[in-house]
Amino acid sequence: MKAAVIVFPGSNCDRDVAVALAAAMARRNPNTAPVMVWHKDADFAAVDLIVLPGGFSYGDYLRCGAMAAKSPVMREVVRRAEKGVPVLGICNGFQILTEAGLLPGALIRNASLKFVCRDVTLRVETGQSLFTSRYEEGQTIRIPIAHHDGNYVAGGEDVARLEDRGQIAFRYCDAGGALTGAANPNGSAANIAGIFNEAKTVLGLMPHPERLADPALGGIDGRPLFDGLVEALS
């Protein structure tokens, strides 16, 4: 499997996700690791997976993800995504995916108006995808969030359509798996934490699975996402 992590000016989780992905790749095939692709390098080599990392691309000026979505490398990412190359966008990466039109909806300021960094509980809504095959549907996992603009909004029919077509990947829930308001850290519609495109080849999520993929950091609930991807794409 070959993977690329796109680095925008202001990306700051590029190394983190590369480490988690490299560990997953190495568990299957030692001496493999993702390549880092600088945002000015629009003609990067063919890969099996493209990752858009978290951070503050272009300072999040104008609107989170808006400028990155217009960068040369993103034109190429969109082109490849449309051909079916899987794309994973985490946090700022999710924002870029919505700005680039690869995923529906938008991520606006948290309902609290404050940046929030803490572990949240997610309910896995489907195990039937490249990204979630190592999870069970309905399973609850603990993953950190760290964002100021993670409040997912979409037109009324869009949310219903996402639900109908099984495009919701993760939702914020309480410890028992219930989708309560108290468990929703940012005001997202339908407690949405992550969504797929229709073909389920593109996943965007606000939580950071790469931050709990190593026991030394206090948990490994994020690891199956990377292991599942490596298994599916190798």
Partner: protein
Amino acid sequence: MSQDGPPPNVVAEHGLSAEEYDRILEIMGRAPNYLELGIFSVMWSEHCSYKSSKVWLKTLPTEAPWVIHGPGENAGVIDIGEGLAAIFKMESHNHPSFIEPYQGAATGVGGILRDVFTMGARPVANLNALRFGDPDHPKTRHLLAGVVAGIGGYGNCIGVPTVGGEVNFDPGYNGNILVNAMTLGIARQDRIFTSQASGIGNPVVYTGSKTGRDGIHGATMASAEFGGDGANGGAEEKRPTVQVGDPFTEKLLVEACLELMATDAIVAIQDMGAAGLTSSSFEMASKGGLGIEMDLDRVPCREDGMTPYEMMLSESQERMLMVLKPGCEDLARSVFEKWDLDFAIIGHLTDSGRMVLKMHGEVVGDLPIDPLAQAAPEYKRPYTPTPEVPVIAPGEVPEPADAGAALLQLLGCPDLCSRRWIWEQYDHMVMADTAGRPGGDAGIVRIHGTNRGLAVTTDCTPRYCQAAPHAGGMQAVAEAWRNLNAVGARPLAVTDNLNFGNPERPEVMGQFVGCVQGIGEACRALDFPVVSGNVSLYNETNGKAIPPTPAIGAVGLIENLDRTASIALTCEDEDLVLLGDTLGHLGASLYLREIAGRREGAPPTVDLKAERRNGDFVRGLIEAGRVSACHDLADGGLAVALAEMALAGGLGACLNPPEEPGLPPLHAWLFGEDQARYLISVPAAGPVLEAAKGAGVPAAKVGTSGGGALTLPGAAPISLDKLRSAHEEWLPAYMGDTQD
């Protein structure tokens, strides 16, 4: 150049005394022009010159076999093994943060980050020590909201985790809040950069953001007290002296600098912090014993028509000055242009020992470097030692009507309640190496790619320092030392951020001297050298000084991250063992202030031999894997420490005083703030008590873990839910009213 001297009122407006101006005339051999006067003014400001504090700072211990660079560089550098170095410093941004809390705090974070990556380190952790006024003061909520948002806004964007810190509220900070920011970085020992210029003819290069008209005279502003609001000198009027931060540009600057530092292109590098281009250029030339000729026409500027005075004194953020090896200009330019940063060769090194500034082909300033940089005024200001206050015996402090209610009240008071509302606004996990999150005794970051870690903490108890500066200074160091031991780290070195009022008042200077002497004594006894620091004076408004606040930042090393301890009580049916002597000291305690409503008495005695012995012992237990949880005892004493452990782990406990002679009264046993103590949870007390005896460490079994409630002796059990509400509710409720 004009030979007319500036009028006396212009000299005074630059914060220079008549004696200092006479000295300038002597150094220059003529009257300075306006630009030169401005340069003297910032270079000799208290902020840049340390003129009131230097004589005392020299008394601090700064050496140890593991110290690579002590004070005098941008940050302290220590050896952490395997060819790596930890580089760290804490710095204040008090005055700007009071004037404009968001930008003041944000640029404080930006400034301290630059101090660390200037030396070649990748920043890996941020901390902040904050002091606010009375919660009931009308400005406190706005200042707290702005400062926290500013710290988060900068640190989150740049992608360095904020892993710890401390917050106090006291009416003494109503007119002057304190924002002390600390950054810890890691570098390869063979890739450490300093500001010492060398190589006559080598190019002097400017990079980063463009220079604007912001922050002019920030250093002078930070070296004066505030007058009343609205009056001349009022904080509101000084807002234009506050800089505006751009964390995105700083992120680009970090990456570009580290990329260039991986090559051999850089001779010397210095960030433009306080006093901007002036202090950075003088610093580099002075350390190298050289001169610089600069062509100000080449300085990248945000707007046309900027004067030499504005360019030299601007404190625009995110800028760097470098001396390159000859022939490396193109390489350096390509790196900075890759990151979309300005890059300009603005001058070269000379052998003249002078700073020659040119614009439009004319010399606009010509100053000798060493007399400005090194012969800055140095004062041994008169001081009055702080009078001793009486020691209050435990029996002189009333018992609470209900120990459980007293505990709940303490856990919920502004100085002890949970700081979750604050640290959840900081990204404390970015970089994916945070092994110890905020809320414990010390933050822990893994050294990337290894199973070793660095523990880091900031500490100071201002009410102790106010009551007895010497003891308070010692206690700040001792608490930092304990917080590192409590997570299993070997304490290595400290950075100090000394915040005081107007040093021209002998009683304030007395507080300063007392605290510095206390810090020095403790650091010597604990082999805990001071490797960097910052002094912030003139923290006063209308003649009222802040409580003396010498914040201590400290760093320790963890050799094996599998052998650390956290405060979380998680193992059922374990024994709780209290290490250290319990005399029940309640003077200057939180119990005395919050429950008895009295602010008086001497702070607890700091026994440095006991600190060292008990600290070494508990660290040994943790390294041997014998401790399930550990917490140092501080504000609120034993009962508060146990409650915090229970809440962190979600497990109850039962507390029982040992049956031994000489125990203090129960309320003093529960809430006394005796030093050098740790509470640990262990599978069985017996072997630990035995080992403690052998090591000469006082130890006693004081309870057991288990259940869903905390039970104090002779009191009804308090459910963890009730404890949690008491601990968690105050700060969000207090801040919930704000729309900031």
